[in-house]
Amino acid sequence: MNLFLEAVQWLLDPANWAGPNALGLRILEHIGFSAVVVLVAAAIGIPAGTLIGHTGRGRGAIIAITGGARALPTLGLLTIFGLWLGIGLEAPFLALLVLALPPVLAGAYAGVESVDRATVGAARAIGLTERQILMGVELPLAAPVIIGGLRSAALQVISTATLAAYISDTGLGRPIFSGLKTQQYDMMLGGSILVALLALLVELCFQLVQSAAARRAEPHRTQTPASERITA
């Protein structure tokens, strides 16, 4: 526990929050970089996944991509892009995008695909155009699952952005790797605690947004349906 006290002391030391190496700056870098990656992944993945879910074409490709992506080692992608593209932000950006796309795609696809076909048929029968069906019926009903996809992408990106410091020295991975090099456990542990807290905070925010979307999509549904419980 002594190690944790030292880490907290390191975190509370005002010297670590000032100057060009200020922790606040690292936090902003980490959040900003992760947010850009997730936004780009969303801009590509949501329309593509929605289209596949809506038309039902390309289903096999989605399953292959998401299954295969899980096996890809993130550190391997980071280092190979680092070698090919040189030191800078391009390599981690590309590696993170490759990791963030599959969950976003899968979420958008699964969400739209899970919308009851009878509901879509009813919308078509009352004269809605395909565009209106997509924007007004399918997307709102699919929103909880789409947000679920964004949530796993965001967590994956925050986690891997920590590793990105290995090749490009940005974000909250920096204190962890400098601590490793100089054998300063307080710095390493302090950095680790910050990343863990950041990830938990993002996870909680997504949980709130996701349950809000679920309430909007299915206002009559109770919290846990009876079928998910065992009474024995």
Binding site: R70, L75, S192, V195, A196, L200
Partner: protein
């Protein structure tokens, strides 16, 4: 190819290290998660804290967890125990939810029928619930297997040797063949262990084949 043939024995050693680090967490998380999942499926009071707790655990990024765990458990930073503990925790984070869903998928009528034919709760667990939960459990186990194999590589940055060492070495010495070999082998190991899970399930649940053939 030239690089690979010159470094074959190193790659083999790293491959063996990788296996030693990936298999124990997969087995341990299965052994821990099945009872926890059954508890979560059986009781509403336990369900929420268990599933929320494991869900939050999964949110913690791997590299920070590898550094926090030695501080909590008193391991040395580079010991395999650090890796195995961290990966078991991740495995449980996924599998407890999967097991809870698997046990919840057993129909209530089957449970009642088993109780009516005189199964004790213990007998019902082994002979009725676990076999019926098997297929859903298998799909979570496969996810855990593949992601564990890929996460082991992250340990290389703190100096735990595995196929991930090919990434850190290759990056520092500017050898892309080393990194590519590491990526390919990690994916191959993941698929092989995944196939082992499927095969094991086929042997443990022979009736599934009979059903799908009928």
């Amino acid at each position: 190819m030239n690089w690979l043939s010159q470094n074959l024995h190193i790659v083999g050693q790293l491959l063996a290290d990788h296996m030693v680090l990936s298999i124990p967490p997969i087995v341990l998380s299965l052994l821990i998660s099945v009872p926890l999942g059954r508890l979560a499926a059986g009781s509403r009071r336990l369900r929420t804290p268990l599933l929320t707790g494991t869900g939050l655990l999964y949110a913690i990024p791997s590299l920070p967890l590898f550094i926090i765990i030695p501080a909590v458990f008193g391991f040395s930073l580079r010991s395999p125990a650090t890796m195995i503990t961290a990966l078991t925790l991740y495995g449980c984070a996924l599998l407890v939810r999967g097991a809870a869903d698997a046990f919840a998928s057993v129909p209530q009528e089957v449970r009642l029928a088993a109780a009516a034919t005189g199964h004790s709760p213990w007998g019902m667990f082994w002979k009725v619930e676990l076999p019926l939960a098997g297929p859903v459990l298998l799909s979570s186990l496969r996810v855990v297997t593949v992601s564990t194999v890929s996460l082991v590589t992250v340990g290389a940055v703190i100096g735990i040797s595995s196929l991930g060492t090919l990434f850190t070495d290759g990056f520092q010495r500017n050898i892309d063949a080393s990194i590519v070999t590491g990526i390919v082998l990690t994916v191959v190991v993941a698929f092989v262990l995944d196939a082992v899970c499927v095969l094991g399930a086929r042997i443990a649940m022979p009736w599934r084949r009979a059903v799908s053939r009928a």
